[in-house]
Subunit: 321 residues, 3 copies
């Protein structure tokens, strides 16, 4: 694996899941693999879980970690090719990526969408420019349209919580929020669920349809109550509109806030969320902290998801060097 | 030791002092203790000494260190239970603490007081919420009302500078400042001195009385000259009013600024300050840099204080795991 | 070597070059040298290449690295001796330097010029104050007037690209920019080139003369075309005026922007720049990305330059301890 930015970089999903679950049983078993290797973590946006879990994953594999907080600690980046750089951007991503990869063996990068320019965001301009000019393997720590480390951890969590022969019913339900959020977590979750051994369905108000690339073939349902029927896993997440790009489309939001009564029609569903969560806006305390919540298991699995991916990449690097 | 947030977490003070002084003689002697263990350092406020000394202490014990600058690098935290999070706070401390402790074996946290809400500050709401939801041991890197690592280093410094059989006279004297500062250092120093083998006395202008929890039984003196009489150690520190909470109570400040003449009545007292110090506002250059100053010895001992505490915690973790 | 802040700290240039080139052949060969030693990196200004290359260099030598982002993570520093600190500066550099060096074995510091007070900048007040109060060796990560790690890497790059018996002609040419930049890179490059086995010449518009300390004896030429004649290396860099200190002196800037036609008179010159570069303002894409560009080789050599210097310092520390 020489790139991990979307589901399509996964060669063998089942193998990857087993790798991560094996690592979870003994996180230090591959500690010699990363000896003298350096992981650079580039942040253009805030991060808690991703920052810590990826750093810890690398440490568990014996690597060094170098953190780069762009804008705060370094120079703002221009991303347009051929730009006449007479504005506020001091360095071109072309140069920054080339330079960073001279000092690191592997690089992770977090770059959120603008939510104002849909084309640029959905072309993953920043991420792709970075990858083009980076001479070492790149891991997405969440980009404009995807958050694959999160989705991988989500799938690990579902796997750990399902022990029956039939496929579980997994519902992704839109949740209210006060600010426009990226579609990345929802996009990625859809992408991964469509390839996993699950029956996947999405429910959201009209106007919040995701980009068809992520949902074609997936059942969409505008009635939350119907979506919840016999669900085994309920993934709660807000996202802003893709069609009215980056907007909060008028909708009777509070109707979409879950409660125990609504969940009664599920199959005693487990509750999932990627965090951070605005408590009592997106999801109520009672459900976040309730016995069916597997939210903290998701964040814990971020560690093993990251470690699985970094391990695959280290193996590739060591094979080819 | 599974928590270090105040003097009351110390089981045996003399043992702890001897531990730290032993570490100082050979800082690397317990280097295998922290192998593969990670210390997370969470900063909600600026830090120089605490940041560096605690990081170095952990490295000396063979640990990895992960730094988390909240607000700058991560999301602002809500601390009120049951809050409807529709404001500017993006993540609840409940979730942040739970998540951080999934990736670390030990967590240090710095959280200054608001100085506007006395009740919240003196309930140590943030620190206590963090501890409640953190699943690993927590070290205070200075909280709303206490700075125990500082006080421990201060006591080590006094111990190293006193070789007579009788108890030294230790004076904490209020100093002028231009901004309202927390009471944390003064509170903690009082708390530790009351339990140490010293004669402790505090002098400050009327209006600057500390919370009685920290001073009951301690001699308070409103006359600095009287307080200085035969003092062996003079600890200089500003704090804002506890009673008119967070305020600078009108007082003829400059009268409280020390000089050599005033110190003539002491027993050739050593001068102490926790740093940072506003030179020539709180304390004059001549005294900070003078031969009686043991200020840099205090900051040096921050390293061994931190290392002593982390060692105790690692031993506890290794015993119970 | 107990200090590395300018060329004058170099004892034997040829030996230093060979050291760095030897390290480049096997960067991990001296990995035991820095065991249990800590490098503190203090940043008062942004940094990408310097931050990463110096951190990686220290890791390659087996050291730990502690990062200190002053202003962001710590307290703003007062640098004037005897200052009454009743303004916005919370800590004196005297105390900060003393404290930092208690926790580190070696300290790097980056401190840009104000560009408003020439005397203070050219006295290197901040750097010199820091060194005065620092009890361990100090490496400049770029100061008000010099950037020696950059110049050392530049010289390594020239050395690697020159295999003829005669001296290469090295030209430093001023380039347009939209903001006033420090003279540090140009000063340092001049200082190093004057001592290297090269024929060195500087070309810039009138008004951009550097401080004579860095250029006395060096050929200055106000006609870029003439300067370019038969050049083997063309180092492109903007700097603001020294005489009208920190100003952009009126000049027909765009005339100084290089292109392929202008370079035709060179000896098929290699193109150099220290980065970050404002593309198509200072230097056009075609030249930055062209086959004669050795710009990324320069940034790569930052790693080995840093490692060479740190190695010399570690050897000194280990000898004297």
């Amino acid at each position: 694996m020489l790139k991990f930015t979307s589901f399509s970089d996964v060669e063998n999903l089942n193998d990857l899941i087993q790798e991560a679950l094996n690592i979870k049983r003994n996180p230090l078993q591959f500690q010699s693999l990363g000896k003298n290797k350096t992981l650079g973590l580039v942040f253009l946006n805030p991060s808690l879980r991703t920052r810590l879990s990826t750093e810890k994953a690398a440490l568990n594999l014996g690597m060094h970690v170098i953190i780069i907080n762009v804008n705060q600690e370094s120079w703002a980046w221009e991303i347009r090719d051929g730009a006449v750089m007479n504005g506020t951007k001091v360095e071109h991503i072309k140069d920054a990526a080339a330079v960073i990869s001279q000092y690191c063996d592997l690089v992770g990068i977090r770059c959120f969408p603008s939510l104002t320019n849909r084309e640029e965001d959905y072309n993953e301009q920043l991420l792709n420019q970075f990858i083009t000019y980076c001479s070492v393997p790149v891991i997405s720590l969440e980009s404009a349209t995807r958050h694959p480390l999160q989705s991988f951890a989500d799938l690990l969590t579902i796997t750990e919580n399902w022990h029956r022969p039939e496929r579980p019913k997994v519902l992704l339900t839109w949740a209210p929020h006060i600010k426009p959020l990226p579609q990345a977590v929802a996009n990625s979750f859809s992408e991964w669920m469509r390839h996993a051994e699950v029956d996947f369905i999405i429910t959201h108000p009209r106007g919040y349809e995701l980009h068809p690339d992520f949902t074609t073939g997936t059942k969409i349902c505008y009635n939350q109550e119907e979506g919840l029927q016999k669900a085994d896993f309920v993934y709660v997440k807000n996202w802003s509109s893709y069609h009215e790009y980056g907007k909060i489309v008028p909708a009777n939001d509070t109707e979409w806030l879950l409660n125990k009564e609504k969940l009664a029609v599920t199959n005693n569903a487990k509750i999932m969320h990627c965090l951070p969560v605005r408590r009592n806006v997106e999801l109520i305390d009672e459900l976040i902290d309730g016995e069916n919540s597997i939210i903290l298991q998701q964040s814990h699995n971020r560690l093993f998801a990251a470690q699985g991916i970094i391990k695959k990449m280290l193996e590739q690097i060591l094979t080819t060097s």
